[in-house]
């Protein structure tokens, strides 16, 4: 039932960049009362002016599990967190990740298995976080601008840029950066950490999921800070 090969039809480079949603929202000059929604609209309008075309929608979600207390050793070790994620680009797959750890790619009925493993992994309360939005195609680029939500509230914006022709992320970082600058302007981020420690390995779906996981974690930590414009 578990598989470790990539079920997706393509191994595009999926450079997810970004934007620390809350970070970019709070830093963008939207302080004068612009909401997350308005900022998303601003971004998508810029993409459309560039010539990008709408190509459906996307959704990435993530749920956190922690190791059940009963299985922890006596030495007072803390339980590791596991993230179970889905990505509408890979509808037949389910991703299970540990922070800094391995990424398992399984069939979607992995969710059922998690229910059976209740004794070992327990889902954290109200941990579900997801991003939803529109896909845009521009030449060979695929851009996904999404609103990150936790429960009922919008927490920030995610921007993912995929450049399908290139399979080695570090090869095309400069090219991606130039593209990001064309619609993010000064809010263009630095290279994601996932790129730093790899040389010429072929980029895969797991790399994208790791970046989403890191983005979601960042946004979770900022959840106390009220997002500009919500009020």
């Amino acid at each position: 039932m578990l598989r470790t090969h990539c079920p997706a039809s393509r191994l595009g480079i999926n450079l997810l960049h970004l934007t620390p949603a809350s970070l970019s929202v709070s830093q963008m000059p939207v302080a004068e009362g612009k909401s997350v929604q308005q900022t998303v609209e601003l971004l998508t309008r810029k993409l459309e002016m560039l010539g990008a075309e709408k190509q459906g929608t996307f959704c990435v979600d993530c749920e956190t599990y922690h190791t059940a207390a009963s299985t922890l050793g006596s030495q007072g070790q803390t339980g590791k967190l596991m993230y179970v994620m889905h990505n509408s680009e890979y509808p037949l797959s389910c991703f299970a990740l540990f922070e800094n750890g391995p990424c398992l790619i399984a069939d979607t009925n992995f969710d059922v298995l998690m229910v059976k493993l209740k004794g070992f992994f327990q889902s954290a309360k109200a941990s579900k976080i997801e991003t939803r939005g529109t896909r845009y195609q521009y030449c060979d680029f695929l851009v996904k601008v999404g609103t990150v939500t936790m429960g009922p509230s919008a927490r920030g914006i995610s921007v993912e840029v995929e450049y399908g022709p290139c399979v080695v992320a570090s090869d095309c970082w400069n090219l991606l950066l130039e593209f990001l600058q064309s619609f993010l302007g000064s809010h263009t981020p630095g290279a994601p950490t996932v790129f730093g420690n790899r040389h010429d390995t072929v980029y895969g779906p797991a790399d994208t999921m790791v970046q989403y996981m890191e983005l979601f974690n960042k946004i979770r930590k900022q959840q106390q800070v009220p997002v500009a414009g919500i009020r």
Binding site: V167, C172, N174, D200
Partner: protein, 311 residues
């Protein structure tokens, strides 16, 4: 009647001539009837011969008479076709049901068209013969009998020689791997993999490169039955553009006497795409233009340019 006069046909003489032909035919058949029947019963052998000869002579006379009559009439009929520029086909214009069978006007159109075609083909052949861009063995405009019987030696190189040239090139460039196969007889097909950037399918004819298709490293290059897919193009615009440029390069690198040098030059040029996503344009300094990286590589310097930035 005016039409009739204009083509010079004497209808009266014509119908008389037809009658004369009928008369001639029947008199000729009478001659043969008489010969077939032979000598009829008469009391004496002498009588039989006499009667037969007289009858035969009569019949021949009438044939002669009918023939003379036909000859006379045929002079009166005239020669209608001679004064018409299209000769006998001009008679089609006499067809009274022009609307239903516009044969004559169609014929004129076809005639004009074929005249023009011949003229333009002659001009084109003259012009093309002045160009030195000849990749194929057949010389244009040369008639079949003057065409050399044997193909030029560069087209009949032994497969072993082609293998050697390719494997030498393969060893020259470590980041480039070349896989040679011969799925369709003696012609080789190459699958060139350049780093983790792109794959190129090269269709060869002996040592000449006939066709190249460039695809992404992650794209499928095989058909469903496991053969190299030499027809479908890449899904990505950037590789479609590189395919166009590679086809241009095939026409640029030409040295008919040394095909191995041509293949080596082409592969050297192709190798410069190892930095397809990493090299900024040498003119405008940018990576992207209209969403595409610099897809052009200069044939001499191998420098990267956007398609619209090259001189």
């Amino acid at each position: 009647m005016a039409d009739v006069l204009s083509v010079g046909v004497n209808l009266e003489a014509f119908s008389q001539a037809i009658n004369a032909i009928q008369a001639l035919r029947s008199s000729v058949s009478r001659v043969f009837d008489c010969l077939k029947d032979g000598m009829r019963n008469k009391e004496t052998l002498e009588g039989r011969e006499k009667a037969f000869i007289a009858q035969f002579q009569d019949n021949l006379h009438s044939v002669n008479r009918d023939l003379n009559e036909l000859e006379r009439l045929s002079n009166l009929v005239g020669k209608p076709s001679e004064n018409h520029p299209l000769h006998n086909s001009g008679l089609l214009s006499l067809d009274p049901v022009q609307d239903k069978t516009p044969l004559y006007s169609q014929l004129l159109q076809a005639y004009k068209w074929s005249n023009k075609l011949q003229y333009h083909a002659g001009l084109a052949s003259g012009l093309l013969n002045q160009q030195s861009l000849k990749r194929s063995a057949n010389q244009m405009g040369v008639s079949a009998k003057r065409r050399p019987k044997a193909q030029p030696t560069t087209l009949v190189l032994p497969p072993q020689y082609v293998d050697d040239v390719i494997s030498r090139i393969d060893r020259m460039f470590p980041e480039m791997s070349i896989h040679l196969s011969r799925p369709n007889g003696t012609s080789a097909m190459l699958l060139v993999t350049l780093g983790k950037v792109l794959k190129v399918i090269v269709v060869m004819r002996s040592l000449f490169i006939d066709r190249t298709i460039v695809k992404g490293f992650s794209e499928n290059v095989y058909t469903e039955d496991g053969k190299l897919d030499i027809w479908s193009k890449s899904n990505y615009q950037v590789f479609q553009k590189v395919t166009d440029h590679a086809t241009t390069a095939l026409l640029h690198y030409q040295l008919p006497q040394m095909p191995d040098v041509v293949v080596r030059s082409f592969m050297t040029w192709l190798r410069s795409y190892i930095k397809l996503f990493q090299a900024p344009c040498q003119r405008c300094g940018k990576f992207l233009q209209d969403g595409l990286p610099p897809t052009w590589r200069d044939f001499r310097t191998l420098e990267a340019f956007h398609d619209t930035c090259r001189q």
